[in-house]
């Protein structure tokens, strides 16, 4: 297997100011993915440091969601390597169900199990995958629900929760497995504007608690205040990356400028 770090150091746009040294939490190298004749990712190299929040921006169809979904192999990459704290995620012989427990994922459409209560949405994997007893699983689920401020909704079914609450339960479901990295795939895009704040607040809390996060989103304000690094993707590759002040304040690439002026309406 090739060493993905070699590819990373060759990347001229690699961040100068990524926090923490040592082994990255998540390393993506030379990631390629096509759907039929359409190339969606053409060589992505990205290393996310422990506790870093990397915010991914880009027009629709730029490949940002696909990149995220390759990280836990909901999408199978055509080539390239992904390492989680040095453990291969890609390649033959990977225990996918084991590695996925270490990578939490939050979806645009929440994807809560509608037939289960909030509590059972969280305990399912704890019981069936981790093999915890009912009492242990419930204790940890209540803890996770408390973290997202919804301990009082544990007995509710998803249909009885607002969109924002559902998304927070979905975050709790991922958090309960104590993942090393969290992937967010447009977590607030399906929410009414007044419900977005609660979800972002939970994400801010996770960030301050030291969670490593890879966030695909259009919440620019959140990126400005919470992201350590912003990545701009277009046409299946990373066009530009850097600290939020620079990407939003002085983007180097024309494509980044065009995109930002479109989304900010400027």
């Amino acid at each position: 297997m090739i060493d993905p770090r070699a590819a990373r150091t060759a990347d001229p746009t690699a961040p100068a100011a990524a926090p923490a040294a040592g082994r990255p939490a998540l390393e993506i190298a030379a990631l390629h993915k096509s759907f039929g004749a359409t190339t969606v990712l053409s060589g992505i190299d990205l290393a996310v440091a422990p506790s870093e929040l990397v915010f991914v921006l880009g027009p629709s169809g730029s490949g940002k969601s696909t990149m995220l979904r390759c990280c836990n192999r909901l999408e199978e990459p055509d080539s390239g390597t992904i390492l989680l704290k040095g453990t291969p995620v890609t390649g033959a012989g990977v225990n996918l169900n084991q590695i996925r427990q270490r990578i939490g994922m939050v979806f645009q459409a929440f994807n809560l199990y509608p037939h289960l209560t909030a509590l059972k949405n969280v305990t399912l994997a704890l019981r069936k995958v981790r093999g915890l007893s009912r009492a242990e699983a419930e204790a940890r689920a209540v803890e996770a629900l408390t973290q997202v401020g919804l301990a009082d909704k544990a007995g509710n079914h998803p249909a009885a929760l607002s969109g924002g609450q559902q998304q927070r339960v979905a975050i709790a479901r991922a958090l309960a497995l104590e993942p090393e990295v969290m992937l967010f795939d447009e977590p607030t895009s399906a929410l009414d504007p007044e419900l977005v704040g609660d979800v972002l607040a939970v994400m801010r809390d996770m960030k301050s608690a030291g969670m490593t996060m890879l966030v695909v989103s259009h919440e620019m304000k959140f990126a400005q205040e919470a992201a350590d690094r912003v990545i701009f993707m277009d046409g299946g590759s990373i066009v530009e990356q850097g600290p939020p002040e620079r990407i939003f304040g002085a983007p180097e690439h024309e494509r980044t400028r065009a995109f930002l002026s479109r989304v900010t309406g400027g």
Partner: protein
């Protein structure tokens, strides 16, 4: 005899009713026994086949589709007659009870498989993804996340189909299964009076009405608001 008296004597003759009620009650027991066995094993087999099909192993799926299509297309009576009167020539002797049970179970399984498969495929892809992203395996995601939702979607068509198939136990009459209808037609030819058939009709209504009501209750019980 006035026409009305004659009508009542034909269909509601008290003496005939009293005489043959015990025989028909025996038939009720046979029908109940058959119905319960058929519904349990037919739905279980259909569910198993639908789950197997979820793994999308081409050859297995192909076999299941062929099975389901044939057993849904053929009239049950044709199958019953072929098996009951054909197999003995091949040296296989099965009781009429076993033949009726096996054929109706397979037919129900064919319909149940299609209904549950439709349920499985209509569960949103995101449900699979959410389950798999937490480390659940394919089988676990199927059993704990997808199947429970598929079953809820399948309950109304499944109960209708179960009621329809249990009513077909009356077909056992033609191969001599001593069910309600068989007892009634025997009684009718001995007595020369249609009252036993009326009694059979009443027995069927009493027997199946609770299931029809139950199916309504199940439909409301398992429905949940779609988000």
């Amino acid at each position: 005899m006035t026409p009305l008296e004659r009508f009542l004597d034909t269909f509601f003759n008290a003496a005939v009713l009293a005489k043959y009620a015990p025989a028909i009650l025996q038939g009720v027991w046979v029908t109940v026994e058959l119905s319960v066995l058929i519904v349990l094993s037919g739905i279980a087999l259909g569910g198993l086949l639908a789950c197997v099909r979820a793994y999308r192993v081409r050859l297995l799926s192909f076999g299941i589709v062929i099975f389901a299509d044939i057993f849904r297309a053929l009239p049950p009576l044709v199958l019953i007659l072929i098996v009951y009167f054909g197999l003995p020539n091949a040296g296989i002797f099965l009781s009429s009870f076993v033949v009726l049970y096996a054929i109706l179970t397979l037919i129900l399984a064919a319909f149940a498989e299609e209904i549950l498969w439709a349920g499985i495929t209509s569960v949103a892809k995101g449900q699979w993804e959410a389950a798999r992203s937490t480390g659940l395996g394919f089988t676990q995601a199927l059993l704990w996340v997808v199947l429970p939702q598929a079953v809820r979607l399948a309950i109304p068509p499944l109960t209708n189909r179960a009621i329809a198939i249990t009513k077909m136990t009356a077909l056992g009459t033609v191969i001599g299964v001593p069910d309600i209808l068989n007892q009634a037609t025997t009684a009718q030819s001995f007595s020369g009076n249609a009252s036993p058939l009326m009694l059979a009709a009443v027995a069927y209504v009493l027997l199946f009405m609770p299931f029809v009501v139950l199916s309504r209750w199940l439909e409301s019980r398992f429905a949940w608001r779609k988000v």
